[in-house]
Amino acid sequence: MAAVTPILETRAIVKRFGGLEAVSGVDFRLARGEVRALIGPNGAGKTTLVGLISGRLSPTAGRVLFAGRDVTGLGPWDRVGIGIVYTFQITSVYRRLSVRDNVLLAAQRRHLRRLADWVMLDRQRLTHEVDAALESVGLADLADRPAAVLAYGHQRLLEIAMALALEPALLILDEPTQGLAMGEIDALCRLVRNIAERATVLLIEHNIAVVLELAGRITVMDHGRVIAEGAPREIETHPEVQRAYLGRRSRSTP
């Protein structure tokens, strides 16, 4: 295989919580531009693995490389700065701030380079960027409402608008369709496909229909390990995957 540097790589990464090993020596690689789904039963270690990638968690052992650079020691804020963006599984918007201010906080971050930027930024350019992000997720009409009054599905879209405003190189979506209605799921799939034209997408998802529609490749985890990886067709027939899923049915498996 040609030695193309993957956009993301974990090397023998381990995370222990007390006696529980949530992630056990995972080697994970992501090629630039792909849409990858990360699936597996509850408690398989998916959210922990992406936590290690985004920097929310620090690993017990192992390394994380982003575009060939070792980022293991970087704080989550610095990882956002180089393009690793995470959207929360449980929506975590600023409930008391307006929808616009939520996105503004994301949009302004990229422009805060020099000390003077923290005092004053080009308001017009920022407003333009915020509007664009809200437009792309269809929340422009709700811009001035407090985030807390948004319906759940809209809060999920707001999360994605905030992620978009950060201009991710790698966007990690943690169960983006959880709790959404059918129509909303279709809209979200369209949105993710749009994003995928500009960014690499790593998607944790329980809804297999969504996974099959969006993902070019699928990684399956169980008990803190990667048990299978490949194109959707290969994964469907993979014996390990069948065993993992037949043993413990996942919530939304059709």
């Binding site: 929310r56 804020w77 610095d78 956002v80 963006v85 975590s92 906080l105 302004q108 005092v119």
Partner: protein, 316 residues
């Protein structure tokens, strides 16, 4: 922001009103309002941390007193001028804020509160321990302070000079805090208050933000302490004590934490309440306690916070 001009006009209007009051107030209240304006600057500093960053400190007297002792001791013992003493006080407060900020960097909630209280207690005890130079609780007075600019000489003992100097410091702190909370930095601090983990994952180094907030808050509080010393000519341990850490908390809560005008309103109301109460009883601290309890129970948003919720959402 569309309401930007109206907000600025409101703040300038409040300052203008305070400026006009000096010609109307009888001498006692003239002095009282001058004192309140300096203490309000202290509360504004406190509010930067409590209201806009979400960190409750019980040790802000350290910053106020660091400013006070920085200026007072150098003027008293080393014969520094007003300007030099002012500078030492401000730098001293900033240094104290740096130490407190670094020590409390990873503490939140009750832990932050307790560590700030302990550090302030240590500072207070230090002012007593070195009583040969600080004269402890009794403190010392600074007399004959004046500022000379060329031929122009300002006698800080004159009421009109006190009043307008206090007003100038208040104006700097009030407009400075308004500018801060509307800046990208201010927005990031509010984000930190609302949800620290989320803010980290939007790319903000929240530890650095907290340190900046403690520095800004300590600097403002120290500026108030320096001003107090220079205008009222007194330095004493009382101002390093726990009561002077609780006061700005109370003023801020009463007026409205997280509002720019709240600290000023709260200081004004509370100082007058204490003044009236101390005319009636020696146990005026009961009034302080009762107001604190009542504010927390029935008006957690404070006066200005309540106005904002009910009538004027645009208030910063």
């Amino acid at each position: 922001m569309e309401g930007g001009r109206a907000v600025l006009a409101l703040h300038l209007g409040v300052l203008g009103l305070l400026g006009a009051l000096q010609f109307l107030l009888p001498p006692f209240h003239h002095g009282m309002v001058a004192r309140i304006m300096v203490l309000a600057a202290y509360a504004i500093g406190y509010n930067l941390l409590l209201g806009y960053t979400g960190l409750m400190s019980l040790g802000h007297a350290t910053f106020f007193a660091a400013g006070m002792y920085g200026a007072g001791l150098t003027i008293q013992h080393w014969g520094f001028g007003v300007a030099a003493g002012f500078l030492v006080g401000v730098v001293g407060a900033l240094a104290a804020a740096f130490v407190v900020g670094v020590v409390t960097l990873r503490t939140v909630g009750p832990a932050f509160l307790i560590v700030t209280l302990m550090l302030a207690q240590a500072f207070y005890l230090a002012t007593l321990y070195f009583n040969e130079i600080t004269l402890g609780e009794q403190g010392f007075a600074l007399a004959g302070l004046n500022v000379t600019l060329g031929d122009w000489r300002l006698d800080l003992a004159r009421p009109a000079v006190k009043y307008n100097a206090a007003l100038a410091v208040l104006a700097v702190c009030l407009l400075g805090s308004l500018a801060l909370v509307r800046s990208p930095l201010g927005r990031a601090l509010v984000a930190l208050r609302e949800n620290e983990e989320r803010t980290q994952l939007l790319g903000y180094n929240t530890y650095r933000l907290r340190l900046v907030a403690v520095l800004a808050s300590g600097l403002t509080s120290g500026l108030a302490g320096v001003t107090y010393t220079l205008l009222f000519g007194y330095v004493g341990s009382t101002f390093a004590g726990v009561l002077y850490s609780i006061y700005p908390l109370l003023w801020t809560l009463l007026g409205g934490a997280g509002t720019t005008l709240g600290p000023l309103i709260g200081t004004l109301l509370m100082t007058y309440a204490v003044d009236v109460a101390s005319g009636i009883t020696d146990a005026y601290l009961i009034v302080v306690g009762a107001v604190l309890v009542a504010a927390v129970l029935w008006a957690p948003a404070g006066v200005v916070g309540g106005i904002r919720t009910r009538w004027a959402r645009w208030l910063p």
